[in-house]
Amino acid sequence: MNIKRDISTTTLSSFTLSAFFVLTVLSILLQNIPQKLFSAGDSLLKLNSDQGVANAVTTVVVYFRGFDTLGEIAVLFIASFGIGLMLTSQTHGDKNKVKSNFMLQLGARLLFPIIILFGVYVMTFGHLSVGGGFQGGVIIASAVLLMFVSSNHFHLSHRVVEVLETFAGISYVMIGLIGLIVVDSFLGNFLPHNISQLGLLLSGGIVPIIYIIIGIKVGSEMSLIVQNMLQRSDND
């Protein structure tokens, strides 16, 4: 990086502006560093002890603040079909994609099931160990990305992915509505979720179910995004 290149006025002005702004913010922050105080988190931890879910973050994400996650799924849903809207205009014609060599194809075909398995594990055991719907879904999408890279004419059939996605979306909102009817609060936990069965797969009531549904939805959406990004549509 040659230091001597001409530092134009814009970089200089922006440097000083942002430096001044950040310094003032810094001075305020340093003066009153936040002390540990009895925050909402601790009371949530106590509440969590009888939820039958090992991973406190998962219960918070899915159950206690489930509404945010619903919103977030909406954001992902809009983003994915927005990207789909934007990028499907025309697959640019140059077909001179390099033919991936054999080693890559073999390796990819070997690795694909393993990554998918890892993704499914992360998704289903979200409430017992680290991870959850989002992370699992994206890992599955990265597996799909691997297959895209390895062979030129690999593509997901749009119909299957869409069915998966709509099924997951509808069931998520349905669970919320059933919660409203049964437990008289939207996204209420209407399934039995006592502490005794901690460690079993379905021990957290609706928490694991929702996380798996989120996993399916995120997985399908992300793979759609990847497919659109790589400009592969059904016809080629």
């Binding site: 913010v25 305020i28 922050l29 003066q31 009153n32 936040p34 105080l37 009895f38 925050s39 909402a40 988190g41 009371s43 949530l44 509440l47 159950y63 206690f64 603040r65 489930g66 509404f67 945010d68 619903l70 919103g71 977030e72 909406a74 954001v75 849903f77 809009i78 983003a79 079909f81 927005g82 809207l85 934007m86 205009s89 869409e162 069915v163 996605e165 709509t166 979306g169 509808i170 998520y172 909102v173 349905m174 919320g176 509505l177 919660g179 409203l180 609060s185 939207f186 996204l187 209420g188 936990n189």
Partner: protein, 484 residues
């Protein structure tokens, strides 16, 4: 019938569109209009049956969980938003025959998402939840503005997105600081704990909130990007931007300001910021020839006026603010909807379009809505403007009064320039008439403007209670915290 349906049903509709798509080409259009009509009826039913504020707990009780508060103010906004979106999509049903959006299903999802997130912003009582709805509304607005995929639309979408991302960064920064120093995300607890903070941190948090929301509420130093968005995107989507989206952000911003930033010199600063932003927006609007850009500046002006009304923090000025907001939303909806069909017919977006326009129905409708924006008596705009000026004079800020009156004088210059074009005597093309449904929609909106203008007492007690509820922080806190 709880208030959660306003958000759950559009979401369900969004996720389930492939199923609706099977009912033929316009299956989705009609089902979406049906959905919006049912939401509007739900809001009316809630309004009728609601004697005191309703709290809708989600998952667990408020101090830790999220709850949706439905009091007089939010029911006013919910009814307004559902009504406007219903009118808009009814209008679109006929507009789509001439130039439909390609793969329309997505367009209707976006409109419903916009509606759901606007209502979510109004109802939510948890600051991180407000951030999530802030994002949903933002992202559906970005795609809506870039929907036509022309270079202009894409540039508008790109600029809107980058500005929105910056706004959300500052908002997350503010939420982080709030949580670190107060340990809670619930608006009521924040407002109770906020005064105990040191003044520095309070300043920092209020600054970041002001920037985060200010960018979206289009207040003066932060609204340089707005006119490009209006000019780039479609006139039809502009109607939703200026009538629904900006109003939701405005309400949330002032809801937060009343809850935990009510100290005096900050609101005084907001007051003059609003007045300056109105004046500058009106002056710049003088020389505009592109119609969308011109009405964008007039929206900036009206938002400045609303800023003044709401930051006066008295019941009378908030009533005035709600009146102005109602009149402005109705008028802008009418103007942009008629512009959408005019642009489509006359293929040009210049002011001289009105010279060629030969449709007395549209001409009268646009004139009525413009006069109401100006605040001419016997139309909806006058009630709010008069109340506002009276409360400003009552609190003795005569310089501010002069600024506002000067700004509305300048505003009348370019409005009457357009009306003058309408009456210009050049020969006009052949007669251009809308379909009956479109005429019905525009007629109902204009009827609303005239009715509020002539007989404001029909809704005055409802708006008076709404404004008193909005300002009354104590009962909001008891409601929210007393729920569990």
């Amino acid at each position: 019938m709880s208030s959660i349906y306003f958000i759950a049903l559009p979401l369900l509709f969004g996720f389930a569109t492939p199923i609706f798509a099977k009912f033929g080409k316009n299956g989705i259009a009609y089902s979406s209009v049906l959905l919006q009509a049912s939401l509007f009826l739900l809001s009316i039913q809630l309004f009728v049956t609601m004697d005191k504020s309703i709290i809708e707990v989600i998952a667990i009780a408020p101090p830790l969980g999220i709850a949706l508060i439905l009091d007089n103010v939010s029911i006013f906004f919910v009814m307004l938003f559902t009504f406007l979106v219903l009118m808009g999509s009814l209008y679109y049903l006929k507009l789509r025959e001439k130039n439909p959006y390609q793969n329309e299903a997505k367009f209707f999802i976006l409109i419903n998402m916009l509606l759901a997130s606007a209502i979510g912003l109004v109802l939510s009582s948890d600051i991180f939840n407000i951030y999530v709805f802030f994002e949903i509304a933002g992202i559906s607005a970005y795609i809506l503005s870039a929907y036509r995929k022309t270079p202009k639309a894409l540039e508008a979408g790109l600029k809107y997105l980058i500005t929105g991302a910056i706004a959300s960064i500052f908002l997350v920064f503010a939420i982080a600081l709030i949580y670190l120093h107060l340990g809670t995300l619930n608006l009521a607890l924040i407002s109770q704990g906020f005064t105990a903070l040191e003044s520095d941190i309070k300043l920092l948090i209020s600054l970041f909130l002001l920037i985060g929301f200010g960018l979206k509420v289009e207040i003066f130093p932060l609204n340089f990007w707005v006119t490009d968005i209006y000019e780039g995107s479609d006139a039809f989507t502009d109607a939703f931007f200026s009538a629904v989206v900006v109003k939701a952000y405005l309400f949330v911003f002032f809801h937060i300001v009343y809850l935990f930033l009510p100290h005096k010199e900050f609101t005084l600063f907001l007051l003059y910021l609003g007045a300056v932003s109105m004046l500058i927006a009106e002056i710049v609007a003088l020389r505009q020839t592109n119609l969308k850009r011109l009405f964008a500046y007039s929206s900036l002006g009206q938002v400045g006026l609303l800023f003044v009304a709401f930051s006066m923090q008295e019941a009378v000025s908030i009533t005035a603010g709600l009146y102005i907001l109602l009149a402005h939303s109705l008028a802008k909806m009418v103007i942009f909807l008629s512009l959408a069909s005019l642009f489509e017919k006359y293929k040009k977006e210049d002011i001289s379009l009105f010279k060629e326009m030969n449709s007395p129905f549209l001409r009268n409708i646009i004139i009525i809505s413009m006069l109401s924006l100006l605040g001419i008596p016997l139309l909806a705009g006058f009630v709010g403007k008069f109340l506002l000026l009276k409360s400003i004079a009552f609190s003795g800020l005569f310089v501010l009064l002069g600024l506002l009156v000067l700004a509305s004088l300048i505003e009348s210059v370019y409005y009457f320039k357009i009306i003058g074009f309408m009456f210009s005597k050049e020969e006009r093309g052949e007669k251009f008439s809308l379909s009956t449904l479109q005429r019905a929609v525009l007629l109902t909106l204009t009827l609303g403007i005239i009715l509020i203008g002539i007989a404001p007492f029909l809704i005055s007690d409802f708006i008076a209670t709404a404004s008193s509820v909005m300002i009354d922080v104590r009962s909001y806190q008891n409601l929210l915290l007393g729920a569990n």
